[in-house]
Symmetry: D2
Subunit: 342 residues, 4 copies
C-alpha cells in the first residue's frame, strides 16, 4: 500500500534529500511539494539532479489539498514551522524537520530561540525523533520532531554512556566537525566556496549553540538530574557529514562495551572494534552511524568518535525512518542505501 506524502519547504537541502530517498522508497509517493518563493517552478529547475523524476510542481502551502495526504514532512524554517503545523488537518501525520518541537519545555525553547513558542499545546504531543531511543512513542505519535543534526550525532555517542553511569557526566566535552550542508542553501558569506575552501573555524563558541538545548534536555532526563556538556562545533571544508570527538572520563573498555551492547540490535548503528576510528566519509549519503572508542595513555580517559550524514541520518533519513514507524511500515524501508564512496 502506498502512502501519500507532502513535503513543505521542498526547495532546501533537506527537502531535496527527502525526495531523493522517497524516489526509491516502495511505499511512499509524493503528492505535493511546497516552496514559498519558488512556487510555480518545477522541482527540476530548483534541483536539476531530480529531473528524471515525475514530481508535482512546487506550490504555496495554501494550494495543497491535504485531504489526500497521509504524511507531511515539514522542512520549513524555524518558527514558520509552528505556524504552519498548527493549521494542518487532524488526519495528517507530521514529521517536522525544524527546531520548533524539539524542546519540551517552552521556557527552554524561548531561551534558545529567542521568542515564545506559538503552539505550546502541540508541543505537548510532539515526540522527540531520535528513533533508536523513542521508537515506541514515535509509532503512536501524530507529530514527531526531527532532531538537530549535531544533537543527533552527539547523542548516539553519549546516551547509552550517561544511562549506564560509566562516565563522569559532569565533564563531557564534545568537539564537533561539520560540513556546510547543515547550514542549508542560505546565502551567507561564510558559506561561500572561496571562504570555506581550505578553511576550518570554530563557531558558536562558549556554549551558545542552540543544539545544546537538546543535549541538556535529553541527557538530564537520562541522568535524572541536570547534565550540561561542553560543546564546540567547527565548520570544515566538506559538504555532508558530522564527526564528533567526545572526551570522557571513564574506563574505555566499559565505554566500548556499553555502546556495543546498546546498539547490538540496531540496524543503522555500527560500533567499531575498540581502538578503531570511524571516518566521516564512510557513511556519506546513508542512514548509518559509525561509532569508535579509544582509550588513552592517561588511564580513566575514553574518547568516543561518532559520524553520520547530517542530511540523511541527521535529518531526512531520520524523518523517513520515523515516518515508516508512524505509518506501520518496516522501520528500515527505503533506507538501506549503501554509502557513496569515494
Amino acid at each position: 500500500m502506498t502512502h501519500t506524502v507532502a513535503i513543505l519547504g521542498a526547495s532546501g537541502y533537506t527537502g531535496a534529500e527527502l525526495v531523493r530517498l522517497i524516489a526509491t522508497h516502495p511505499s511512499l509517493s509524493i503528492a505535493a511539494l511546497s516552496a514559498d518563493r519558488k512556487a510555480g517552478m518545477e522541482m527540476a529547475e530548483v534541483f536539476p539532479h531530480l529531473r528524471h523524476l515525475d514530481l508535482p510542481k512546487l506550490v504555496k502551502i495554501e494550494e495543497i489539498d491535504f485531504a489526500g495526504i497521509d504524511m507531511v514532512f515539514c522542512a520549513l524554517p524555524h518558527a514558520t514551522s509552528q505556524a504552519v503545523i498548527k493549521e494542518l488537518p487532524d488526519h495528517v501525520k507530521i514529521v517536522d524537520l525544524s527546531a520548533d518541537f524539539r524542546l519540551r519545555d517552552p521556557a527552554e525553547y524561548e531561551k534558545w530561540y529567542g521568542k515564545p513558542h506559538s503552539a505550546p499545546e502541540l508541543q505537548k504531543q510532539a515526540v522527540y525523533g531520535l528513533t533508536e531511543f523513542y521508537r515506541d512513542d514515535i509509532r503512536n505519535a501524530r507529530l514527531v520532531a526531527g532532531t538537530g543534526c549535531n544533537a543527533a550525532t552527539g547523542q548516539f555517542a553519549l546516551r547509552p554512556l550517561i544511562g549506564a553511569g560509566v562516565i563522569d557526566i559532569d565533564d563531557i566535552i564534545v568537539d564537533l566537525k561539520a560540513g556546510a550542508s547543515g547550514a542549508g542553501r542560505s546565502l551567507k558569506e561564510h558559506l561561500l566556496f572561496s571562504e570555506m575552501f581550505e578553511n576550518v573555524k570554530g563557531y558558536s563558541l562558549g556554549g551558545t549553540h542552540r543544539h545544546l538545548g537538546e543535549f541538556d534536555q535529553e541527557f538530564s532526563v537520562i541522568a535524572g538530574r541536570p547534565v550540561n556538556i561542553q560543546f564546540t562545533p567547527h565548520l570544515i571544508p566538506a559538504t555532508r557529514g558530522i564527526l564528533v570527538t567526545c572526551y570522557l572520563k571513564g574506563d574505555p573498555e566499559a565505554v566500548h562495551q556499553t555502546l556495543a551492547s546498546a546498539y547490538e540490535e540496531e540496524v543503522f548503528v555500527e560500533v567499531l572494534p575498540l581502538g578503531q576510528a570511524p571516518a566521516m566519509k564512510d557513511i556519506r549519503g546513508s542512514n548509518f552511524v559509525h561509532i569508535g572508542v579509544a582509550g588513552d595513555r592517561l588511564s580513566g580517559r575514553a574518547t568516543v568518535i561518532a559520524v553520520l550524514d547530517n542530511l540523511t541520518k541527521g535529518s531526512s533519513g531520520q524523518a523517513i525512518q520515523n515516518a515508516n514507524l508512524m505509518l506501520g511500515l518496516p522501520e528500515t524501508e527505503g533506507l538501506m542505501l549503501a554509502p557513496l564512496y569515494p
Copy 2:
C-alpha cells in the same frame, strides 16, 4: 529469482561501487569477492563504508567455486583480465570492466595498449557494453566489455550526431574534465590530495589517450569511414564525475533535435532544453547522463556538454545495466537511485 555474482578485483573503486549497487538490487546476490593482495581480509577492512553488509571474505580467484556463480563482474587491471577470463567456465556470463575487450581489432588493441592480445578468440565474442546502443547484442552475449568512462561520456554526446550527419565529422573537438576516481585507488603522486587540490591539469595531450581507440572504433563504424576526433582530458579537483564539452560544426537546433529524439525513450539519458548547461554534480552517484546543447554567436557552431558519474554510468552502473539484460532482468533494476546532492 536471485542470480549469484562474483566480483573479481573487489578491492578497487569499481569493485566497491558494484557492491554498493548490488546492496539494494533485488535480484542479485554476491557469492564471492576476490582481491589478490588483500585475500583473507574482510571487505569491511578494505572499505569500511560497506561494513553493514553481510559479504563474503576476500579470496584469491583460484579459491572461488564458479559452479554456483551465474555472473562474473571482472574489475581486474588491464591485461590481467584477459588471462583470467579465458579460464572461466562456460556457464558463467561475464561483464568485464577492464579495457581488454573493448577494441574489436587486435591490431588496434596492440597499438593502444602496447602488447598483443592474449585472448583474441574471446575478443570476437565480446560485445561493446554501451547499453543504449548495443542493447540487443548485450542481451545475447556471454561476454560484455564495459566501456572506458571517458569514452562513454563522449559517445553519449556524439554518437547520434555522427549517425545523423548533422555535424562535420572531420572537426570534432572534445575537451574533457574528470575527477580523480577514474584513476582508481592507485598510489600515484599526481593523485595525492595535496597535489590535486586547487589544481587543474591537462594530460595525455596530443591524441595519446587510450580511450581514443574506442572513439575511433565506434565513430568509424557509425560513419562508415574513419572518424578521428581531437581529444584533451583534464584532471580536476573532484572525486566522481566527468564533463565533456564538445565543439562542433553544425546547426545547434539540428544537433539538439537529433539528441532529443535519439534519447527520447531512454530512461537514463536526459537531454536538457536547448541552451541549458548540465552540471557534473547533478548525476553524482547515479546511472544518469545529462546532455545540454548550446548554439554560438558564430553561426554553424554547436556546443554539446554531457556529464556522467565515471564509477556508476561510466563503469559499475553500466556493468549492472548490462548484467540485467544478460540475465533477463528489467534493464533498470537496482539502478534508479537518485543522484546524491549536494
Copy 3:
C-alpha cells in the same frame, strides 16, 4: 621613495589581494581604503588574515583626502567605477580593476554591458592594461584599465599567434576553467560551497560572456580585421586560478616557437618545452603565467594551454605591475613572490 596609494573598494577579493601584495612592496604605502557599506570598520574585521598589518580604517570615498594620494587602485563594481573616476583630481594616477574602461568603443561597451558609458571622454585616455603588450603606453598613462581575468589568460595564449599568422584566426576555440574567486565575494547560490564542491559547470554558453568584448577588440586590432573566437567558460571547484585550453588550426612547432620567442624576455611568462602541460596550481598566488603547447595525432592541430591566478596576474598583481610602470618603478617590484605550493 614611497608612493602613497588609495584602494577604493577594498572589501572585495581584489582589494584584499592588493593589500597582500603591497604589504611587502618596498615603494608603495597604503594611505586610504574605502568600502561603502563597511565604512567605519577595520580592515582586520573584514579580512582577518590582514590583521598583522597597520592599515587605515575603511572609509567612504568622499572621506578620502586625495591631496596626499599618488595612485588610486579602483576595485569598485562595474559602472560605479566610471562615476567615481570622473571625479578624481587630476594629479592622481589610476588603475581601474573594473570593466569600465576596457573597451575603447563606447558602442561595444553598451553592447556588452547593457548601458551607455557615462565617461566616454575618459575612456579615450584609458590604456588597456595587459602590461606585456601595452608597456610603453602604460608608462605614460594617467588611467589604465585592468583586463578581465579570463580575457588576460586567453590573450597570453593567443596574441602572439594571431600576430604571427601561424594559426587560422577564423577557427579559434577557447575552453576555460576558472575557480570561484573570479566571481568575487558576492552572495550567489551557485557560489556556495555546497553547490560548487564536486561540481563542474559551463556558463555564459553560446558566446555571451562579456570578456568576449575584450577578445574581439584586441584580436581584431592585431589581425587588422575582425576576429571572433568561440569561448566557453566553466566554473570548477577551486578558489584561485584560470586554465584555458585553446584548440587551434596550425603547426604545433610554429605555434610553440612563436610563443617561446614572444615571451623570451618576459619575466612573468614561462613557455614550457613543447608537449608539456602547465598546471593551474603551479602559479597560485603569484604573478606568473605558464604556457604549454602540444601537437596532435591530427596534423595541423595545435593545443595551447595557459594558466594564471585570476586575483594576481589576472587583476591585482597586474594592477601593481602597471602601477610600477606608471610611477617609474621597476616593473617587477614587489611581484616576485613565488607561487604557494602545495
Copy 4:
C-alpha cells in the same frame, strides 16, 4: 651580506617551501639542493611552480662541497637526518626539520621513535627550535631542531598558560585538525584525493602520536613536574594548516590575559579579542599564528584555539626564522609575507 645555504631533502614539501621563502629573502642564497632519488633532475621538474627561479640542479649529498656553505637546512626523513648531520663539517650551522633532535632525552627518543639515537652527543648541543621561547639559545646554537608542526601549534596555545599556572595542568585536552601536507608527498592510500575529499578522520588515537613526546618534554620543563596532555589529531580535507582546540579548566579572562601579555611583543603571534575564533585559512602561506580564547556557559572552563600553517610557521618558515637568528640577521627578514586569501 648574503649567506649561502644548502637544502638537503629538497624534493619534499618542506624543501619546496624553503625555496619559496628564500626566493624573496634578501640575505639568503641557495648554493646547493640535494634529493637522493631525484639527483640529476632540475628542481623545476620536481616542482614546476619554481621554474622561474635560477636554482642549482638536485644532487646527492656527497656531491655537495660544504666549504662554501654557511647554513644547512636538513629536510630529510627521520633517522636519516642524524646520520647525515653527524658528518657535516664544523663550520656549517644547521637547522634540522626532522624529528631527530627534538627530544633531549635519548630514552624518550627511543620510546617514541622505536630505535636508539645514533648521534646522542649532537643531541646535547641541539636547541629546540620554537623561536619565540628559545630565542637566545637559538642565536648561539650550531644545531637547531625544528619542532613538530602539531607540537608547535599546541605549544603556542598552551606554554604561557602552563607557565602562569592559570589552568589545571592535569586536565588539558587538545583536539587537532590538520591538512594533508603535514604528511608530506609520500604515497599512502589515505592521502589520495579520492580518500581525503569529503572526509574527516581521527588518527593516532589514544595518546600514541609522536608529537606527544615534544609536548611532554616542553610542558614538564615549564611546570617543573610531569605534564601529560590528552591529544587527538584529525586529518581534514585541506592542504595547509593546523587548528587546535584546547579544552582547559581555568578562568577564561585569566587565560586570555595571560596569552595576550605573553605575545604582546611577538611579531608573528596575534591574540584575538576574547570570544573571537581564529580561522585556519587566515594564516595560510604565512609565518603567523592566530590565537583565540573563549569562555563557556560552564564556569571555570576556557577554550583556546590556535592556527598556523604547518609548512610555514610549523616547519620551513620557523626554520628560516631560526636561521635568521643564527646568522645574526633580523629575525623577521624574508618572513613578512601576508597570508594568501582566499
